[in-house]
């Protein structure tokens, strides 16, 4: 099914306005899927500000949108500087290799282990945007 053009332009706007944007199931505080949680755990170690969109309230319409804009159907999806970087597998792999820090333009954290942090950040000064709402 083609994506809803209104939702699609709204999403494109959000991707353009947020240099680091995560589409996930649940919220960073309460991920509702293990894959989304893994990406949140990685981002929380990166000392980077990011926006998060909970896809669950509009899963199918958002799937149609991301299929059209990025040829990708599954969530989580991490967009960096307007382009899809990847889902949980790619984000973790790039985190471990240091490529993620490079893509985000931050220093690689000293302890490189995605399992090391809990759902809340181990690093007190991580700034995190509140989840964005989709109407």
């Amino acid at each position: 099914m083609p994506a809803d053009p209104e939702l699609k332009s709204k999403i494109e706007e959000l991707i353009g306005a947020n240099p680091v944007l995560l589409f996930m199931k649940g919220t960073p505080e309460m991920p509702r899927c293990g894959f989304s949680m893994r990406v949140v755990q990685v981002l929380d170690q990166m000392n980077v500000e990011y926006g998060a969109i909970d896809v669950l309230p509009a899963l199918q319409p958002l799937r149609e949108v991301t299929t059209e804009i990025a040829d990708w159907q599954t969530f989580p999806q991490l967009y960096v500087n307007g382009a899809l970087l990847g889902g949980a597998d790619i984000v973790e792999e790039m985190f471990e290799s240091g490529e993620l820090a490079e893509a985000l333009g931050v220093e690689q954290p000293e302890v490189a282990s995605p399992a090391q942090s809990g759902a809340t950040s181990a690093n007190g000064d991580v700034q995190q945007s509140p989840p964005l709402q989709i109407e």
Binding site: D71, T74, G86, D89, I90, E93
Partner: protein
């Protein structure tokens, strides 16, 4: 139940010369994993490498035989 050998063949046909390994991580076909080593990945971003693998097995996603496929890609040394 999804046919793992068929998935392997689909990827090998899409990426001739690739080394492909498919594993069923929980034995129930719900958590499949594909390890793919292909020269075609050279110079591509990871997301594009994954797109090639997902595209190769798209039919099995579309017909609902697979729901989740974890992908690991590698360029041959």
């Amino acid at each position: 139940m999804v046919d793992l050998a068929e998935l392997k063949t689909m990827i090998e046909v899409a990426l001739p010369g690739a080394e492909v390994e498919i594993s069923d991580e929980d034995g129930g076909g719900q958590h499949l994993r594909a390890d793919v080593c292909a020269a075609q990945f050279e110079g591509l971003s990871r997301i594009d490498q994954h797109r090639l693998v997902k595209a190769a097995v798209k039919e099995r996603f579309d017909d609902g035989q697979i729901h989740a496929l974890s992908v690991k890609t590698r360029v041959p040394e």
